[in-house]
Amino acid sequence: MAKVHEITVWARGVLQDKEGRDVINIFAKAAQAEGKHAQAFDNYEDLPDRVLVTVRKYVRLSDEEITHKYVYTNDKPEVVVICEATIVKGIDVLRGMEPGGTLIINTNRSIDDMLKLLPNANLLATIATVDADAITGVRTVDFSGSEGGVDTTGIGKGIAAPIVGAVAKVTGLIKKESLAKIVSDVSGMERGYNEVKIKHFKPAVAELVGAAAGSKTKR
């Protein structure tokens, strides 16, 4: 099986439930439009109908058919997206991530401020911030499209648009043009793509040693 890219999105219950779900649905639809295979799930195990409670949304992309069906949670997220920055204080958002992962946060605070709140930031190869709330100022509060229901409100009208733009730029997993065909707020998406702040880390010594050992055993 080809590599499956796992993206986990964290949002706040009710207030960001729709926006978080939009992020995964936009990504999955754009990936499918590019001929990739995609799965998107939201709200399994979590409490989306309680205001401010943390909720997760999951999307997986792959070049081949994804065979681990019926597993909703992403156990080893490669990319973690945080729709509301305070979540990093209250949850171990990098849990399960293997070294070399990516974290993208919707915040107007600096990357260094965010790093101070992450006890396991050494897992990251990339961290990025995007001020999605300043870009659109819109948060769609709606349960449309949840639990497999039909989405009647349209996707990517609020903060989800700049967030997906930022994620596309940082990860390179999806083309901006594919997103533009799906999101309602195309200019918001483009501003997220252009305005995201990115910081890359050099791989830690331990990783380099690991990689060298790996290549030796492969021969």
Binding site: R12, L47, V51, L52, V53, V55, E84, G90, I91, K116
Partner: protein, 124 residues
Amino acid sequence: MSKEDNMAKALPGYGTIDVPKDRVVPFGAVTPAPVGTQKLFQTSNWRVVRPVKDEEKCTRCLQCYLACPDACWVYKEEDDTLEWVGDFCKGCQVCIAQCTVDGALVAAPELDFEGGVVRLEKPF
């Protein structure tokens, strides 16, 4: 016969099921208050803002203490102070809305503080 038993007798269907004496449960129940006792009910990670009190302005009217749904304001009579129990405060701001003095209790972004939130492994 206790008051509860009399109330039960007034209900339709009373006595139609033969419940063994040791399985009978009285009406109502006592559950411990959330603060300090229900370790699994730590809701601090719901918080985006936290209530911050201005000691100078606060008149100890105790409206915040009465209003908090999670009993996060604990009044210490000995020294006339109110202690905030941050591990259980979910940032609902009801206390701020009920405060009787302008500016005595205000919302501050949680990100302005380094700690104070119980970091959970999984969503609540």
